[in-house]
């Protein structure tokens, strides 16, 4: 039975999967060089890629673990400031500062998760909202270190092997694609591991998860730290991309955009995060007349999706049969 099902799916066999992947990678690498795309479009694609990464990070927390964060921009800000300030004061290359930004965001995530992981639902959401504001306030008031309201200007572009990445040579596009691919692979591996199953168990019923021996608090903290670290990486990429950072760069609006992407695309769905990012980042560009109202539209998306399709476009339970380990036969039905 299972074998018959599998053969029907065109892309299910391994060589075909690899071939499809190779074609896609080639296409993506060729795109910015093809001349078909203006730098403007390349820039939008870069943003979509960045937001896919950010929403994957939030999806891990909200979609898979069931913890709603509306202060996610705060983690981006931590990563962004760490990276920008390390460049400013120490002159370190991007790769180093970005990794430090990730670690820093992870540490801050741990600091937030440790006291709040006992909380659930609304309390945790409010705590994340307060966290986002605290980050902003520190960035604004610690003027001697962060530059206060003036922020950090003319941040250096990342450089690899003597090539400075720009939008024009497609460097930022490639970098964002590589980062997003790594993050996707990472999230995919987590979701399909023991840890991922623990996350989903906590989301579906934390009490039952406790009974089955899942250490709920520890897994919530892990989810928080991983999610924060990825968001920090996104922030570290973004500040070197736009080359400017002030306390308003990562404000509440960014947190709302990220959560709207996750909700629209599908909670607990990795392809959903890509779809959501593609839709929500491109629509203000396509529908220019609506761009004034775009924040209202983000709000409407949240309300309407909850009302009509709370699991999102690509979310919901998978209908594929559960894949058992090798050597384990499935009996029945």
């Amino acid at each position: 039975m299972k074998h018959n099902n599998a053969k029907k799916n065109l892309l299910d066999t391994k060589p075909k999967k690899i071939a499809a992947l190779v074609v896609m990678v080639a296409l993506v690498l060729y795109l910015p060089k093809s001349g078909l795309l203006s730098p403007y479009l390349v820039r939008i694609l870069t943003m979509i890629s960045l937001y896919s990464m950010l929403s994957l990070s939030l999806n891990l927390l909200t979609g898979f673990t069931g913890l709603v964060s509306i202060g996610h921009a705060g983690f981006c800000a931590v990563g962004g400031y760490t990276s920008a300030l390390m460049w400013q004061y120490l002159g370190l290359p991007w790769l180093v500062t970005a990794i430090c930004g990730m670690i820093m965001a992870g540490v801050v995530g741990l600091m937030l998760a440790a006291p709040t992981s006992r909380l659930s639902g609304s309390y945790l959401t409010i705590a994340t909202l307060g966290f986002g504001e605290i980050v902003k306030m520190i960035a604004l008031n610690w003027q001697s270190f962060t530059g206060g309201p003036l922020g950090v200007n003319h941040i250096e572009r990342p450089e690899f092997f003597g090539i400075t990445l720009t939008t024009f040579n497609g460097g930022f596009f490639y970098l964002s694609i590589i980062l997003t691919a790594l993050v996707t692979l990472f999230v995919y591996r987590i979701v399909n591991s023991k840890m991922g199953r623990a996350f989903m168990a906590i989301r579906d019923d934390s009490l039952a998860a406790t009974m089955m021996g899942v250490d709920v608090t520890a897994y919530k903290m892990k989810s928080f730290v991983i999610s924060a670290a990825i968001a920090g990486l996104g922030g570290a990429f973004y500040v070197h991309f736009v080359r400017f950072l002030d306390p308003n760069t990562f404000n509440f609006d960014i947190s709302i955009i990220i959560i709207s992407i996750v909700i629209l695309g599908g909670t607990g769905s990795i392809p959903g995060s890509f779809l959501g990012a593609a839709l929500l980042i491109s629509f203000p560009e396509i529908l220019r007349f609506a761009s004034e109202y775009r924040f209202i539209i983000y709000g409407l998306i949240l309300v309407l999706m909850m009302r009509f399709k709370p699991e999102g476009i690509l979310g919901g339970h998978s209908h594929r049969p559960f894949r058992l380990m090798k050597g384990v036969e499935s009996y029945g039905n």
């Binding site: 006291p115 609304s122 504001e133 924040f295 983000y298 709000g299 949240l302 309300v303 909850m306």
Partner: protein, 292 residues
């Protein structure tokens, strides 16, 4: 000097209490944190501003109109966005995200209609200042405190002594049992939203009259502070919300004076996080035991 800070803090605190009561009322009946409450507060202040500027009714009637319109707006929000979720028995997280969406819609609609800059708001209870000991007392502050105390007493009276208040307390204890006893739960929830919206509108008008500006984003920080106050006192408990509001107002006033104006808003969040760590059910809250 300390007495001056205490008095200024109490003025702010009593208004935070008025907002916090709105969170507590809704949380009581729905077990839901109404994220749109801060935006509701800004909405109320804007309606009062528009009525004052465009008509010659005067501030008192402007606030009355604002109270009614804001109350109706929150009832409408419940009707079209939250009631269908209750009917579908959605997860709690859906209602939470819905209120986040509503808050964002209201705030940005205000921004589109009124622009994002701050606008003038008439001063309320403007009868000059006087000195008691070495405390400078503004008539505005006395007026704000009086109105807030009267309103808080009125809300307590409604919840404790009237029939609809009895219904609210019944729904709070057990919505299903209440509906079996013949209580129209949806109507009670609508009424609760109206009360929350109305108190937020008054609070918004009072604070705008105190600082003499309105701004579409004013609700964001005020909402967070009031939520901290509600959590501090134990969310769902009215006198807890009042106590929490006063503590947050006093803490903010002292922080602004001793630490610096830049960090005055941070104090409420620090209180919030400390409370969440040590006493998540608040000072007056009872421990909830989760039964399997």
């Amino acid at each position: 000097m300390i007495l001056q800070q205490v008095f200024d803090g109490l003025t702010l605190g009593i208004v935070y209490a008025l907002i916090a009561v709105g969170y507590s009322l809704v949380f009581g009946v729905l077990r839901l944190v109404n994220f749109a409450h801060g935006a509701t507060y800004a909405f109320g202040a804007h309606i009062a501003m528009v009525v004052v500027v465009s008509t010659n009714f005067g501030l008192f009637w402007a606030i009355i109109i604002s109270v009614i319109m804001t109350g109706l707006m929150t009832m409408f929000m419940d009707r079209i966005a939250l009631r269908p979720l209750r009917a579908k028995k959605s997860k709690g997280i859906s209602a939470l995200i819905t209120t986040i969406g509503c808050s964002y819609i209201i705030q940005n609609a205000l921004m589109i209609v009124f622009g994002s800059r701050s606008k003038w708001f008439p001063k309320i209870f403007d009868y000059g200042n006087f000195q008691i000991g070495n405390v400078l007392v503004k008539s505005t502050q006395v007026g704000i405190i009086t109105v807030s105390v009267v309103l808080l007493l009125l809300l307590t009276f409604i919840v404790q002594k009237t029939k609809i208040g009895l219904a609210m307390r019944a729904v709070q204890q057990n919505a299903k049992a209440a509906s079996l006893m013949g209580i129209d739960v949806n109507r009670v929830i609508s009424f609760t939203f109206f009360l929350g919206g109305a108190s937020a509108a008054v609070a918004g008008s009072l604070i705008s009259g105190y600082y003499q500006i309105v701004n579409p984003q004013m609700g964001f920080i005020a909402g967070l502070k009031a939520f901290s106050a509600a959590v501090l006192g134990g969310i769902g408990i009215l006198h807890g919300a009042v106590f929490g509001g006063l503590v947050v107002g006093l803490a903010e006033s002292f922080a602004a004076f001793y630490i610096g104006g830049g960090y005055r808003d941070a104090v409420a969040f620090i209180i919030l996080i400390v409370v969440l760590i040590f006493r998540p059910n608040g000072l007056f809250g009872k421990k909830v035991i989760e039964k399997v």
